[in-house]
Symmetry: C2
Subunit: 339 residues, 2 copies
């Protein structure tokens, strides 16, 4: 059985999303076990509301405090030692859970995870990695916002971690790694990216060269490496554009009666399209580079989205992603291939 | 009459796009006059093919050389002194044209424009600015790739130029300026962005604070300021996502006969949607910060798209954008508000 600790109080919706998502996943994933961390009373009440109950595969673990969505990471770390977020991560540290999932505040989650679990040897700072849909399959992108200023060495660490994660959970032997840049010609790009490209060419990862922003969605590479500033903005720009297109589509399909009729006829195709780009089915970003698996769900996630984050945590825990990264970095440190 | 010099040989399609676009715009814009720059024989031949002819409002200006799409900017500048691109820009310098439009190679166009026209006093380096659709209207974004590493002062210059451009061509008195960052809290962001925010708060532009990637498309600000590395990647990521969505939509609407039927019924709504996000209707990026107006069309632009780039050049020339920027920067230099 794989045990996942769930921060029951995190996110915009707290237990009203986390509890039903856990219950739904229990039946889908017979080898999974969950620890719901948070205020016992609220969690039990929500379980009752959802017609669920505590069991060997679904325990409630009391944690009285809650990290607010706008709380500063430093403050959360200093004053919320009994928060649901902190306790969920400590269960991973203590070996009682194989991974933790939280929809709580990203900064606090990252600070707490780093403090409790520590980064792997050879990794300066953890990164945030996520799976995004592409024309042919999907691509993992990192860093998505943990590190706003990165050195070339950090970008190389990201490439190594992304490569190991994709190879572990997708069984790809040599995932193709691209470095995000403004152009594919070698002369372009900023200095740090150029240095990182040189280091990557000398490394053992399957580095295929520079990629541009649109290549996140072409499926030509398995992993896109960038600093957290660029990655976060590229991701949010994409989200903003997608929302705009959906909004325009809704407007165009409701302009007058003939358009509303067309919407009915087109509904199956539009629903199928929606499923292929539904951000809920790509929910769940991993804090990678730690001694343990921590998955961040979107704060506004609904039950469907939160379930996806749980599945992501299960998959990474089942494939021992942190151990694999640690082992490979250990070998590289031994061989002097990373600093 | 406003005179626009058109690089007749630039882009993937050269005269076969530029000439029909010029002819179409001639009838739409009675106050416009064009100089087609490039190989006379080819341009005249294309004019004949399009059933057009030289006139007082449509001259051909011979320039024997062509800058290749993959030619290095330094090489183009050194060896192609009689290129269609160079000669078109020189017509602006000499006062024979009010603006130039080229679909040629961006690097060479920027290098040539800087060399021939020079940057305005108070501007370190020109930027690339473009109009993008948003939920409510549109937003101008700069820099989109001319400057991969920017200082805080350069970001402030971008903000000033963007503000003046929007105020000139759209008549908005105090355009809202946002600084692209990874979060709206003041604690986030990299050092250069934080410094730029401080300078912008002290400046006279209508700085509304940090914006995130998705805000490019929400319409909450009129101008989004960022360095060229981030701007280029955000723009290309958006383009990649939009292409993916269209491709998925085409697939879903052609999966079997009932879907193809639905596509017919939905065609008016889908066409209306397409018009609202058609990148051709947003073609034309301005090299801003120069003593003169130079508009870069997408290299793969078709006639519709190239016409849009011409309209952009006409609008900026009619509103004296470079002169206004120069005047305002002159006042600010005098008052010690810019370095």
């Amino acid at each position: 059985l794989t045990t996942i600790a769930l921060d029951g109080m995190g996110g915009d919706h707290g237990p009203s999303v986390v509890v039903p998502a856990a219950l739904a996943t229990l039946s889908d994933e017979p080898a999974a076990r969950f620890i719901l961390v948070g205020r016992r009373e609220q969690l039990v009440e929500e379980l009752r509301r959802c017609r669920g109950h505590e069991s060997e595969r679904l325990r409630v673990h009391h944690a009285p405090e809650i990290v607010a969505m706008d709380e500063s990471p430093a403050q959360a770390l200093r004053t919320k030692k009994a928060s649901s977020m902190r306790v969920a991560i400590e269960l991973v540290k203590q070996g009682e859970a194989h991974a933790a999932v939280s929809a709580g505040n990203t900064g606090a989650l990252m600070a707490t995870a780093r403090f409790v679990l520590k980064t792997l040897p050879g990794i300066d700072r953890p990164a945030i990695i996520r799976n995004l849909p592409s024309v042919r399959g999907h691509a993992h992108v990192l860093d998505l916002g943990a590190n706003v200023d990165c050195t070339a060495e950090q970008l190389v660490q990201f490439a190594i971690m992304g490569s190991i994660l994709v190879s572990a959970i997708e069984g790809k032997e040599r995932p193709r790694i691209g470095l995000l840049n403004v152009g594919q010609e070698n002369i372009k790009g900023n200095e740090i990216v150029k240095q990182a490209a040189e280091l990557l060419r000398a490394s053992h990862v399957n580095y295929v060269g520079y990629v541009e922003g649109n290549d996140i969605y072409t499926g030509d590479v398995d992993v896109v490496v960038c600093d957290g500033f660029v990655g976060n903005i590229a991701l949010k720009a994409s989200e903003g554009l997608a929302q705009m297109i959906w909004q325009f589509m809704r407007q165009e399909f409701s302009r007058h009666w003939s358009r509303r009729l067309a919407a009915l006829v087109a509904a199956p195709a539009l629903r199928a399209l929606g499923r292929r780009v539904d951000p809920r089915l790509y929910n769940g970003a991993t804090l990678i580079g730690l001694n343990g698996t921590v998955v961040k769900s979107h704060g506004g996630a609904d039950v469907v989205a939160f379930q996806q984050a749980i599945r992501e945590a299960l998959s990474e825990a089942n494939h021992n992603v942190p151990e694999r990264i640690g082992r490979e970095l250990g070998l590289m440190l031994g061989a002097g291939q990373v600093a």
